[in-house]
Subunit: 200 residues, 2 copies
Amino acid sequence: MPSPIEFYFDFSSPYAYLASECIDAMAERHGRVVVWKPILLGIVFRATGSRPLVDQPLKGDYAKIDVFRTARFLDVPFHWPTPFPVATQAAARAYYWLEQQDPVAARCLAQGLFRAFFVHSRNIGDPEVVLAVAGEQGHAATAAAAALEDPALKERLRQETDTAVARGVYGAPFIFVDGEPFFGTDRFAQIERWLQQGGF
Amino acid sequence: MPSPIEFYFDFSSPYAYLASECIDAMAERHGRVVVWKPILLGIVFRATGSRPLVDQPLKGDYAKIDVFRTARFLDVPFHWPTPFPVATQAAARAYYWLEQQDPVAARCLAQGLFRAFFVHSRNIGDPEVVLAVAGEQGHAATAAAAALEDPALKERLRQETDTAVARGVYGAPFIFVDGEPFFGTDRFAQIERWLQQGGF
């Protein structure tokens, strides 16, 4: 059984959203599964002394052109949300809450949250919106609301973020295949060859 | 006549070297020519408050893996040179000197300098090495040596770098196709589609 692909992302990263729309299909073509791991890029950036792309001189202006073009290139619907970026603690905790019980449902929720933000411009930084999206997927509001305040889930998210930084993750999407690190949606062609050939 | 592709690079950028080995063939497949424009990334980074990739926490470690893997992916010979990075004023001035007289010879010199550095680990930060590479391509040592000190060529390089920053260039390789900006070797698939379809 080949090892799962590990997909680190922040729900507020446009490039991670674009990756999220392609990564499972790519994995499936090569008989792999993907483990989705939301983290908090704000904490990652504190560790690396970096800043969100859109706040960086010149890079931010370019990113705004590049994200839209990459979305067209990948044929993925994309809308730049307002407000942006947003805090993603609630979204990530809701994901890990469901993941403990049902990884497939958690994946569905993650995709629902990404699309709510990057297609429908719903503010997933607001815990109420996270609960609404979970509700639309049939999850009980009371249990979901309790999960967002659960210290164990807060700790889980902190640990996943710390582990990511310890493994060298400095942005999103950051993907490990057989332990090999790949940063960015633009490494998908390399990942595809890696999966085909078992490395190169 | 379709407009030329503009290729901004610094002779000390590994990703720009990888791009330099592919960009002309790609352009030729679509009936385009490429204008090569060496600039000084040190000055660009001063304008953007950025630093060389290899000096950045986590990003530097990843880049060292990624550059080698991308070289294998593109089937381009690559060796990490020592010392690295190096000053590229002499290399860039030699390029612009030849370009005034013979753009094809200037392109050859640029490729020779890139390969001297990234294949044979010759220190092109040393003006003597730049003159040696020019000499191996049949250019007169006296004229080349004078060019490296020519105030007009220093000014040309400064202007090309300033123009690049004014156009949003923040790293290398940075490529314009019909005015559309593309950053990174990893945008070649998008450039290829742009050239095929006249935009997308």
